[in-house]
């Protein structure tokens, strides 16, 4: 798992949980506020309902009082001739009523019941003259007539769902005075006024529609149980209560929950995104950079590690860098030991083989000429035999130093030539120089090297009678492989020895008949490619 995924796996659940908790708290707060707001609105609606009720109740009361005290009504109830009363006097009660009804479409009815329960007058100002007093209103009036009450007010809903606010009062026959409380069927009659409380009903219907539940009318004060519910007193013993349906708040709450959910997810994503950016910038990116640098080092695309100036990652980079340095130095030492001749301190055969391939490749790809000197000391065995191996080794070391110095001198004076020196085995040395074999560099190098043997090779003020025979071969011209080049140089060296030692022989100058047996090698070209190479894996001569 990458660091990015690890960081995401850690951050996202925590951030999401945090936002969910915050969203949940917001939801609960919103729900509380919504309920409080709707309770206030509910109370306002109920107040409107109460006002409407009060207006109609007031009209009822006014109509009842004024009509009951009108002379037309008194004359009407005082008249015992039923036919005359209907023909002549009824219109007077109707006029009394109509003169009081507001001209705003308010629907009003008036009815009078005799003590025996018979209805002797009915009028309403509605647009349907054939509508009679509803049976429930009639029963209400009968109830007042028979019960122990002087008057009563009530909301009555007839079978056709029309609601009436009715007020019925006992009236003393003959005198028209206030009726005596209690059932007095022989003396009292009942006058009842009914009003269609259209505005009250409209508010009630609107509330029922808006809140998804009807406005209940109850006789006792409802007990508040919290939540979204409210009640109001319309009249003594009459309360309106509205408890909206459970689905009423579901819509806004669901919308809020949905929006909150979207915001929770959105904020979580944004927060995690920002956190990931910060984590990447300050934690992951330095680690990744360190990883890239270490990877580049392991793939040899980089040499060193940059150490950032920050805390743990910086220390980690510094430690890795230190480890890398130690490892590099160790490798370099091992390699140096592996490629160095222990007797002379210059490169051994392994070193030579490696450089030979390198120089050959460079020559063939760039076209620069490569010259190889194959050097064999003359008479070295006698030094060993006379002076001992220790002296021989010292002599070999001095020759190696001389060869290295000569090569260095020849290639460091701005000639663009490159060269190395190595000991192949025993008293055999070699030098590889990227230069023309006939050029001044090679010529000067050979002369300088042979010069060091003139009069004996001196080591620590002691002169030893050794000389050097040098075979010279080059590409292009003499060979077409590195092994072939070695063979050609070796071959030329033998010619130098055969020609009297202490000299150099160019392979290209060898006569044709000097080619090795079975050769057929032409001047300017080394012998058969199939000739055995020098053993490359052999260790340096001791």
């Amino acid at each position: 798992m990458t660091l990015n995924r690890r960081a995401f796996a850690v951050l996202f659940p925590i951030v999401l949980l945090g936002h969910i908790l915050a969203g949940g708290a917001a939801y609960l707060g919103y729900r509380h506020a919504l309920i409080a707001q709707n309770v206030a609105r509910l109370q306002q609606n109920l107040s409107q309902l109460q006002n409407a009720y009060a207006k109609y109740a007031s009209l009822d009361s006014q109509l009842l009082y004024v009509v009951r005290n009108s002379s037309a009504f008194l004359t009407f109830v005082d008249e015992s001739d039923a036919e005359y009363r209907t023909r002549v006097l009824g219109i007077g009660v109707q006029d009394s009523l109509q003169s009081l009804v507001p001209n705003d479409g308010t629907s009003v009815s008036c009815s009078i019941f005799q003590s025996d329960g018979r209805q002797i007058f009915y009028f309403d100002n509605g647009a349907d003259p054939f509508q009679a007093l509803g049976p429930r209103q009639a029963a209400f009036a009968q109830g007042v007539l028979n019960d122990d009450v002087g008057s009563r007010t009530g909301l009555i809903t007839e079978g056709d769902d029309a609601t009436y606010l009715v007020m019925a009062a006992k009236v003393q026959a003959r005198t028209g005075g206030v009726g005596i409380g209690g059932p007095q069927p022989d003396q009292s009659l009942v006058m009842q006024v009914g009003v269609r409380p259209l505005r009250f009903e409209m508010i009630r219907r609107t509330m029922a529609h808006d809140y998804g539940a009807p406005v209940k009318l109850v006789a006792t004060a409802p007990v508040s149980r919290g939540g979204l519910s409210a009640s109001i007193q319309l009249a003594p013993g009459l309360y309106a209560q509205e408890t909206p349906s459970a689905t009423y708040l579901r819509g806004p709450l669901t919308r809020f929950a949905a929006v909150t959910g979207v915001f929770v997810i959105g904020f979580s994503v944004i927060s995690v995104g920002i956190l990931m950016l910060l984590v990447r910038r300050y934690i992951i990116a330095p680690v990744e950079e360190l990883d890239r640098q270490v990877t580049a080092i392991t793939e040899n695309r980089r040499k060193d590690i940059d150490v950032p100036d920050m805390g743990e990652v910086g220390r980690l980079a510094a430690n890795v860098r230190m480890l890398h340095g130690q490892l590099t130095r160790s490798l370099r030492q091992i390699r140096q030991l592996y490629e160095t001749d222990s007797v002379t301190g210059i490169g051994n055969r392994i070193y030579f083989n490696d450089r030979l391939d390198q120089f050959f490749h460079l020559s063939t790809t760039t076209g620069r000429p490569l010259t190889m000197l194959f050097i064999d000391l003359d008479n070295f065995k006698q030094v060993n035999d006379v002076h001992g191996h220790r002296t021989g080794d010292a002599l070999l070391g001095a020759v190696a130093n001389a060869l290295s110095a000569t090569v260095r001198d020849a290639t460091e004076d701005g000639t663009e030539a490159m060269g190395i020196a190595a000991r192949l085995s025993g008293d055999e040395f070699t030098a590889l120089i990227l230069a023309d074999p006939r050029g001044a560099v090679i010529t000067a190098l050979i002369d300088a090297f042979l010069l060091k043997f003139r009069g004996g090779f001196r080591v620590d003020a002691v002169s030893y009678p050794v000389t050097a025979s040098i075979g010279v071969a080059a590409v292009p011209g003499d060979a077409d492989t590195s092994a072939h080049l070695l063979w050609c140089a070796d071959h030329a060296m033998y010619h130098a020895k055969a020609s009297g030692r202490n000299r150099a022989a160019f392979y290209a100058d060898l006569p044709r008949d000097t080619a090795p047996l079975g050769g057929g090698v032409m001047p300017g070209q080394c012998g058969p490619a199939g000739l055995p190479q020098l053993p490359r894996a052999a260790g340096p001569a001791v």
């Binding site: 001739d81 036919e83 005359y84 209907t86 219109i91 479409g105 647009a127």
Partner: protein
Amino acid sequence: MCRTGGRSLPAGAMVFVLALSALVPGAARANALNVLVWEWGISPDVVRAWTAMTGVEINQIVFDNGDRRDLLIANPNAPIDLAVIDSAHVQAFGDRGLLLDQSGLPLPETSRAEARWRGMCGRYGVPYSWGNTGIVYRADRLAEAPQSWGDLLKPAPALVGHIAMTDDQEELLAAALNFMGRPMNSGDPGDLRRAFELLRAQVPAVLTYGLPTTAQQKRGVGGQILIGLGGTGDEKTLNMAGAGKENWRFVTPREGAMVWVDCLVVPKRTRNPGLAERFVAFLAQPDNGATNAVFLRQPPPNPHAAALLPATMRDDPQIYPPPGYPIIYRGPFPTESLPLRRRILSALLALHDAQ
């Protein structure tokens, strides 16, 4: 029932008029008579002749609605000595004991009305004038004279918004029932329901509910009325405001002449029954009857008075129903139908107010 010039007054206003009349000096004097009558219901010449002869002044208390007039008669505090009442309403007051019996009133033969009118007024009333219900219209504005109740109840588009109907439930329903071919005093709820439907359909076309003669005096309404429900003689009152132009005419619809007769009645509570009955006898005289008929442009119930009328008047189809038209005599309305009839009128007024 005479419709000669009424004034639209609600019941309360009527009482107010009564109270005012009680305050005028004449009303308080013993040699004055308070007469409840339609506006322009008595010839001024006849009144002057009576006052000149007897020194007794006549205080006219006017009305334009039968129901409200009845309330005044029933009110024991209303100082009424004499009243003009539609024959259909006399019997109820007589039976209730509110009227003096006129059957023994010694009238000479020349002052006696035809038997049919005496029969309709009964023992408590003396026939005063008769006529029939019909249509008044502006002859100068209507291309064709109306011939049927249908021309009024189902008006042509040109008449929409130019119609005045009465606010008297009896006459309103009588017209509709007559158009439907039903008895004008029907108490059948089915008849009344159909009549209501007919009248309800007419509501959008109605300019005002009130007698044309009354409505014409209203500002903003008078000049717009082209046709209306009226009675014999109403065209005279309407033309009185026409500066000599006789634009208004009265026509009896072909469905029939619904004939009414107004009767003179004397309430028992009159302070001077002798004087009141003397005025009744004075009005019944042929010459006074003829003078009154010419003024009212209504036929007199007394044949001797009718004989004194000019021939042009006797032949005028605006005054006497055209020969051959069905004659329908107005009779009492069933008591049990009256509340429904009043509610029908109330409903029509409510519908008209709401539009």
